[in-house]
Structures are given as structure tokens and as C-alpha cells.
């Protein structure tokens, strides 16, 4: 265990991991809806830092741009459009929390036990793979078909979002 603490990478890991888990816990328990989103930003920032520690620069900056840049704004717009209570509110959660807490604790225990049991103290040596050039090369050679499929999914989501969110012209004529 003292070996573990003497490694500088593990200090960075703790520095990022503890705020990240606290942020995640507050994001799902905070009674204030806007603060929950702000804690989610904290979690995502820690996650991007962990990606950097693991040598995945491109994924880290994509996470910052796509999540912290776009998805968070979308969440805030969603909150404002649905007229959610912006201050503290008591009825943001179900009244019975204990079964859910028990289930998620059990899932956490099972998952961490399984990973410790299977991987033990297998080492990671970061920065073997993961230069951005390798990622780009691999996307356009080995993963070119999945890449095209993902772009098609994004197009379908774009069209679907427009179709869902716009008002139905026929029902509008009927109401006039």
C-alpha cells in the first residue's frame, strides 16, 4: 500500500477521483436542480482529467467539448423549457429512497469485488497507445464503417429531434 502512495500518478488519481465521486453523489442527491447539473460538470471535469492521466488526450478534449460544452447547455435549456423549479424543492425525488440506495450499493459492491477479484493488481502503463494521430488513423482505417454508421445515427437523431419538437401543423389548423 505504501508503494501505491509513493507513485505520483496515484496522487493525481486521488486528486481527480475524490471530487469526481463527490460530484457524482451530489448530482443525484442535490435538491436544487441547477446545482445538480453543476455537480455533473464537476464530475465530467474529473473524468476528462482521468482520460488525460490514461493518455487519451483526444477522448478527453472531445468529452470537454461535447459534454461540458453542448450537453450541459442542452440540459439547462431542458430544465428551463419544462419550467422545473429553479430553487430548492422537496419533491424532486421519490419519497422512498432506501430501496434504490440499497440496490445501487449492492451493484457497486458486486462490480468492485468482481474487478478486484479478476484483475487483482494488474498494472497500467499509460501512454503506450493513445497519441491522437493513432486515434485518427485507426478511425479512418480499422473503424471506418462504424464511423459512418455513427454519423448516420447522428443525422437520424437530428431529423428525429426536429420532427418531435416542432408543432404538428394539422392540429394547429384545427385549433384555429
Amino acid at each position: 500500500m505504501s508503494d501505491w502512495f509513493s507513485e505520483p500518478g496515484n496522487w493525481w488519481f486521488l486528486l481527480l477521483g475524490i471530487p469526481m465521486l463527490v460530484g457524482a453523489a451530489r448530482a443525484v442527491t442535490s435538491p436544487n436542480i441547477v446545482r445538480a447539473v453543476a455537480y455533473f460538470v464537476l464530475t465530467l471535469g474529473g473524468l476528462a482529467g482521468m482520460f488525460l492521466l490514461l493518455g487519451a488526450e483526444f477522448v478527453a478534449w472531445t468529452l470537454v467539448l461535447v459534454y461540458i460544452g453542448a450537453v450541459i447547455v442542452l440540459f439547462l435549456i431542458g430544465i428551463m423549457i419544462t419550467r422545473a423549479p429553479l430553487g430548492r424543492s422537496v419533491d424532486l425525488d421519490h419519497s422512498r429512497r432506501w430501496p434504490a440506495a440499497l440496490i445501487s450499493l449492492a451493484v457497486f459492491a458486486a462490480m468492485s469485488w468482481a474487478s478486484i477479484d479478476f484483475f487483482g493488481d494488474e498494472e497500467i502503463v499509460p501512454e503506450i497507445a493513445g497519441r491522437t494521430g493513432d486515434v485518427g488513423e485507426s478511425i479512418f482505417t480499422r473503424f471506418v464503417i462504424p464511423f459512418e454508421v455513427v454519423s448516420f445515427v447522428l443525422l437520424a437523431a437530428l431529423i428525429g429531434g426536429i420532427v418531435l419538437a416542432r408543432r404538428d401543423p394539422e392540429s394547429e389548423e384545427a385549433s384555429e
Binding site: 501505491w4 507513485e7 496515484n10 488519481f13 469526481m20 465521486l21 457524482a24 448530482a27 443525484v28 442527491t29 436542480i33 447539473v37 464530475t43 473524468l47 482521468m50 482520460f51 490514461l54 493518455g55 487519451a56 483526444f58 477522448v59 472531445t62 461535447v66 459534454y67 453542448a70 450537453v71 440540459f75 431542458g78 419544462t82 422545473a84 425525488d93 421519490h94 429512497r97 434504490a100 440506495a101 440496490i103 445501487s104 450499493l105 451493484v107 462490480m111 468492485s112 474487478s115 478486484i116 484483475f119 494488474e122 498494472e123 497500467i124 502503463v125 501512454e127 497507445a129 493513445g130 493513432d134 478511425i139 480499422r142 445515427v153 447522428l154 437520424a156 428525429g160 429531434g161 418531435l164
Partner: protein, 99 residues
């Protein structure tokens, strides 16, 4: 740096997201908790990519990010539709298909 420490942090994120999905009433916050679970999956993928020295895991994480962005867009459009029809975005009031 061992692999299990990243897997345990990821399990913690996943458990927090699961708790949020089960407990939150506001549909936007349920979506946010789902994003938390997807973030945990991304951490696992990148950790395994570093462990195996294969860049494929990172590319998978990129695909998960892209699909999650599409999911948030569609999900919020659906929430908006429900809010327009029922003037509430609470998931426990959507009981139309409940037996």
C-alpha cells in the same frame, strides 16, 4: 497505477447514476443520471485501452460519446413533447401505459 482503481471509480459512478435513475422524479434529471452511467462506461473503456495498449477502446469511447449526444437530443425532445401534452415532466406522472 493499477487497473482496478479505475474500475472501482467507474463502478462508483455507475452506482451513483443508477441511484439517480431510480430516485429522481424529474425526467431531465433521469436523463442526466443515464449520462453519468455512460460516463462510467467510458472510463472503463479508456482504462482497458491503456491496459491493453490498444487504441480501439478509445475509439469505442468516442462512439459512446457521439451516441450519448444523440440520445440527449432525442430524449429532451421527448421530454418536451410530454411536457407540452401533460404540462409536467415528472416520470411518475406518466402512467398512461401502466397496467
Amino acid at each position: 497505477v493499477i487497473l482496478s482503481q479505475y474500475l472501482i471509480v467507474s463502478a462508483g459512478l455507475f452506482a451513483a447514476g443508477l441511484f439517480g435513475v431510480l430516485v429522481r422524479r424529474n425526467a431531465v434529471l433521469v436523463l442526466l443520471s443515464v449520462e453519468l452511467m455512460l460516463a462510467a462506461v467510458n472510463l472503463n473503456l479508456v482504462a482497458f485501452a491503456a491496459n491493453r495498449g490498444d487504441v480501439g477502446g478509445q475509439i469505442f469511447a468516442l462512439f459512446v460519446i457521439a451516441v450519448a449526444a444523440a440520445e440527449v437530443g432525442i430524449g429532451l425532445a421527448i421530454v418536451l413533447m410530454i411536457f407540452r401534452n401533460r404540462s409536467s415532466a415528472n416520470v411518475d406522472e406518466m402512467d398512461l401505459m401502466k397496467w
